[in-house]
């Protein structure tokens, strides 16, 4: 053994350039898929390649994607929140109650965001303080939050939101650029920077890869997870504002099943469902892919429930295919 040689040798920082790596990534594959679907859509319907048509298509994913950004961080950190759609229901119901009490738009927004934050805090405390598995906790709160909406609303509905409240879900900032799309784009940048460029983002990856080693390295693991549950709740509250504003009414069944689409979007975006890896650009592209597909199928008059088959297949296929491929290559 040549241990006599003790001259320090220099190790290169990186062998592959970031660009080379980006080209081989899941995200670039996804981008190709997105472009392919875009082209297919434009062949499928003459109405597709139209600015207003494309703008309408974005409503298929903007609300889900807002939640998906926070969910991506949560899943990277090794946790999950299945209660997001129920938080939407509860936040929307709370806004409806505030409306009945005479609240104006600013108060409605605060109530929506506040309810989301509270729900996130409830999940976060149960997971981080009591050490409960997040899957079970959020399956429980999935029933609980929507259940509270049902208690308040029964089979009724809240209507009559103020005209200026409609701005969030129906307004346009500039020409065909909707308010929701602007919110989506801003959040994409914010979450992208937070996950990829900050110490907090690095801590999220560390916790998701190995929570014990992260703890031993001085990361406050419980605090990181708590913040992520709060963010997920807050984003669900924001999505509730947009969705309620767009629909113009609140029913307790609002957003049912959306948690599945959010999780699918995150997983399709290349986030490892077991935690530890994933990127925001991936989730952004996945949002476009899912939006384009549902819009395209809509143009072809495919009913919504059949689209859900596609979503389900996508969720399983995206995880199964790489594993199947690896298995076949080994065999």
């Amino acid at each position: 053994m040549s241990m006599a040689d003790h001259r320090p040798r220099s190790i290169p920082d990186q062998l592959t350039t970031p660009l080379a790596r980006a080209l081989k990534s899941w995200e670039s594959l996804l981008l190709v898929v997105a472009i392919g679907i875009f082209i297919l859509n434009s062949f499928a319907s003459p109405y597709f390649l139209n600015a207003w048509s494309l703008s309408d298509a974005t409503f298929n994913f903007t609300e889900k994607a807002m939640i998906a950004f926070a969910m991506a961080l949560l899943i990277v950190a090794g946790e999950i929140d299945l209660s997001v759609a129920s938080i939407i229901a509860l936040a929307s119901t709370a806004m409806g109650v505030a409306l009945q009490l005479g609240a104006g738009t600013p108060v409605l927004v605060l109530v929506g965001l506040g309810t989301g934050l509270l729900c996130g805090a409830f999940n976060g405390v149960l997971v981080t303080r009591f050490g409960l598995p997040s899957i079970v906790v959020t399956i429980g709160t999935m029933s609980l939050f929507r259940g509270i909406s049902y208690i308040i609303l029964g089979d009724g509905a809240f209507r009559g939101y103020p005209a200026d409240f409609a701005w969030f879900g129906q307004g346009y900032v500039f020409w065909v650029i909707s308010v929701e799309f602007v919110i989506f784009a801003l959040l994409a940048v914010v979450y992208g920077v937070v996950l990829h460029k900050t110490n907090f983002g690095r801590a999220v990856y560390a916790v998701g890869n190995n929570a014990t080693a992260a703890l031993f390295s001085g990361i406050r693991v419980g605090r990181v997870k708590m913040i992520l549950f709060l963010l997920t709740g807050l984003m669900s509250g924001l999505a509730a504002i947009c969705l309620t504003s767009r629909l113009g009414s609140t029913r307790p069944s609002i957003g049912t099943g959306m948690e599945l689409e959010v999780v699918t979007m995150v997983v399709l975006g290349g986030v490892n469902i077991l935690g530890g890896s994933g990127s925001i650009p991936g989730v952004v592209i996945a949002a476009f892919v899912m939006g384009l597909v549902t819009f395209g199928l809509g143009l072809l008059n495919v009913p919504g429930i059949v689209m859900s088959i596609f979503i389900g297949l996508l969720l399983i296929g995206v995880i199964a295919l790489p594993r199947l491929w690896a298995k076949l290559r080994r065999a």
Binding site: P133, G147, V306, L313, I316, R323, L324
Partner: protein
């Protein structure tokens, strides 16, 4: 003596207390005939909870049970419409086989491709529902289209109880034997309790999880036919969200989501607890809209309770501490 401290005893106590509470408001609730009706109404939940229990024991979860139930139910209903003369025995076999096949899809994805069960069953849950739509074209199958024997089977009364109740009792007995008296049942506990050690004992963990999904699917399929027969209607959304009640029944019944802990008795009692609440709400003038929130709260309270009970003692190094413990 150990029974008194057990989860089953606590739950039995809670159920008795619940019944007593309801009886103070509405005495007729605890008449035997009404209790039998409550049991019959809870039978599908009991059967599904027993299947879910097996899955949870092996550290998995099956969120596709309600969708499996709906799909199998729709297939049975359409089969009956197409061939009204088909004997009930054949329908039952079809229900069990189709349910098991759907469960096997979940199981294979978990076993062979190592995909997290939550993802697999969230996905198959929506796929199964979508397939029902494709099969039925979104149409309902109504009672007048079904044959009398098809719908009558589950409601046929033997010795004072409908067949549906008897089937739940039979499933419970079979599961009791399987879980306590067969090598397979023991292996299912071992896999969830200590997968590492299970390997040392020569048990295949993935294969055991596959078997658990097949059992859960088979029981969901059975419930599919029984459900359609009882309510005499089949459509895409039947039993929507029922998977959450099933998981709630298991968690309330003391089945640990961490795997390896839980009994047939616990699952049954958990299901009964929820069933009694559901049936008692209208008679004590509480809106049935409370039900969803109550199951959600029950899941959370039960998980908190389980976590407390499961808190394991760490390794003890100090000898003096060992004595005083």
């Amino acid at each position: 003596m150990s029974f008194l401290k057990s989860r089953e005893a606590i739950l039995t106590g809670a159920i008795v207390a619940l019944l007593a509470l309801v009886a103070t408001r509405y005495g007729a609730f605890i008449r035997p005939a009404n209790l039998a009706a409550v049991f019959n109404d809870t039978s599908p939940l009991i059967i599904l909870a027993l299947g879910q229990m097996v899955v949870i024991l092996t550290r998995c979860i099956d969120l596709s049970v309600a969708a499996n139930l709906a799909l199998t139910g729709m297939v049975c209903a359409m089969l009956n419409v197409a061939m009204p003369g088909l004997p009930i025995g054949v329908i039952l076999v079809v229900a069990l086989a189709l349910g098991a096949a759907l469960g096997a899809i979940n199981g294979l994805l978990v076993w062979k491709l190592d995909i997290p069960p939550i993802v697999v069953t969230l996905g198959t849950m929506t796929i199964f529902r979508g397939v029902i739509f494709l099969l039925s074209d979104g149409q309902w199958v109504n009672s007048h289209e079904m044959s009398a024997s098809f719908t009558g089977f589950a409601r046929h009364v033997i010795l004072g109880l409908p067949v549906l109740s008897w089937i739940a009792i039979l499933v419970a007995l079979v599961m009791l034997v399987v879980m306590t008296r067969t090598p397979m049942g023991r292996a299912l506990y071992a896999v969830g309790g200590n997968p590492h050690a299970a390997v040392y004992t020569g048990i295949n963990v993935g294969r055991s999880q596959f078997i658990a999904f097949v059992i859960s699917g088979m029981l969901a399929g059975l419930c599919g036919y029984l459900w359609i027969a009882r309510y005499a209607v089949a459509y895409v959304d039947i039993a929507g969200g029922f998977e959450l009640d099933v998981v709630a029944a298991c968690v309330i019944g003391g089945i640990s989501i961490a795997g390896g802990i839980g009994t047939v008795g616990g699952a049954i009692l958990g299901a009964l607890f929820l069933g009694i609440i559901k049936n008692a709400l209208p008679v004590v003038d509480i809106s049935p809209f409370w039900q969803l929130a109550i199951s959600g709260a029950a899941i959370i309270i039960a998980v908190l309770f389980n976590a407390r009970a499961d808190r394991t003692k760490g390794r003890v190094i100090l000898k003096s501490a060992e004595v005083t413990q």
